[in-house]
């Protein structure tokens, strides 16, 4: 007597969780408050609290989580008996396409200052970026749209801008871009990813 039929019924994927779209990168001084939950997806709520939007990007923003591991081996077993985490880094990278002194400063270590002089009699209006090698940390957040259609925010309270920046001045091939590399320098348990899922009940 044959047994039970052999079935093949794999689970179905949730295509609604397949998300695409740009991420909005904000930076601010370390310790700057983030908007309240209801305003996490409102750009003016972020800028109103002192967060700066980096603006247009050449190819979006990329977050990279890169742990390095150390295998723990014993002679008696070919496979590792354990894997220890040696380092774990979280990096935000992007190519900023808006050439502002704020963005230039952010890409070049966020160590400089910008002094603004208004136009006056015999004085053109100007802004002067004075650079420094005393790199300062920034808080950063990437805001994107999640599967519910609401804001999803990856927030890192302390990062440092320390990447190589090459900017090509071309006639027509491409706009000037300022590559930005932000490296997290805070304990990993201070990094949060907030997903709004439903409207408040009242």
């Amino acid at each position: 007597m044959p047994g039970a039929p052999l079935l093949y019924t794999p689970p179905s994927p949730t295509t609604g969780n397949v998300i695409y779209g740009t991420g909005i990168l904000f930076t601010a001084a370390v310790g700057t408050s983030v908007p309240s939950d209801v305003n996490l997806g409102v750009g003016t709520a972020w800028t109103g609290l002192g967060w700066a939007y980096v603006g247009a990007l050449l190819d979006g923003v990329t977050s990279t989580f890169a742990p390095t591991t150390q295998d723990i081996m014993i002679e008696e077993q070919p496979t590792p008996v354990g894997v220890a985490i040696s380092t774990a880094t979280l990096t935000f990278t992007c190519n900023m396409s808006e050439e502002t002194l704020g963005n230039v400063n952010l890409a070049w270590g966020n160590a400089g200052s910008i002094a603004v002089t208004p136009a006056g009699a015999g004085q053109p209006g100007k802004s002067v970026l004075t650079l420094s090698t005393n790199f300062t940390q920034v808080a950063a957040a990437i805001v994107g749209k999640n599967a519910f259609g609401y804001a999803g925010v990856l927030q890192v309270p302390q990062m440092i801008s320390a990447g190589q920046v090459q900017t090509a001045y071309r006639r027509a091939a491409q706009q000037r871009v300022y590559p930005l590399t932000l490296n997290s320098v805070c304990p990993f348990n201070t990094i949060t990813w907030t997903y709004l899922s439903s409207v408040a009940t009242s």
Partner: protein
């Protein structure tokens, strides 16, 4: 990444089928109300014993920006622990800031 970026064609040729962000509400005063509410929330969150100073730029400069903090030509509240860095950066840049204890 930057070498490849220099030879890439101009942006815009890539497919951009992303989800469009939601439009802000059509309320000309909505942003002002929102910012006032945010400011009130920030004020309420400041501890009673918080230390801060007031800084302002002197002519010919109308504003000074450093480390994510901006100081204008009107008195600007700055956390006390940020003040030394801002003052040093201003000195390095040749900008005169006037300080008043909070």
């Amino acid at each position: 990444m930057t070498d490849q970026a220099a030879d890439k064609p101009a942006a815009g040729a890539q497919a951009s089928a992303g989800v469009k962000p939601a439009k802000p509400p059509e309320d000309p005063y909505g942003e002002a109300r929102l910012l006032r509410a945010q400011a009130a929330a920030i004020e309420a969150s400041i501890p009673a014993d918080a230390q801060y100073v007031r800084l302002k730029t002197e002519p010919p400069h109308e504003s000074f920006h450093f480390g994510g903090t901006s100081v204008g030509s009107e008195w600007t509240v700055v956390p006390e622990h940020l003040a030394p860095g801002i003052l040093q950066a201003a000195a390095d840049a040749g900008v005169t800031l006037t300080q008043q204890e909070g």
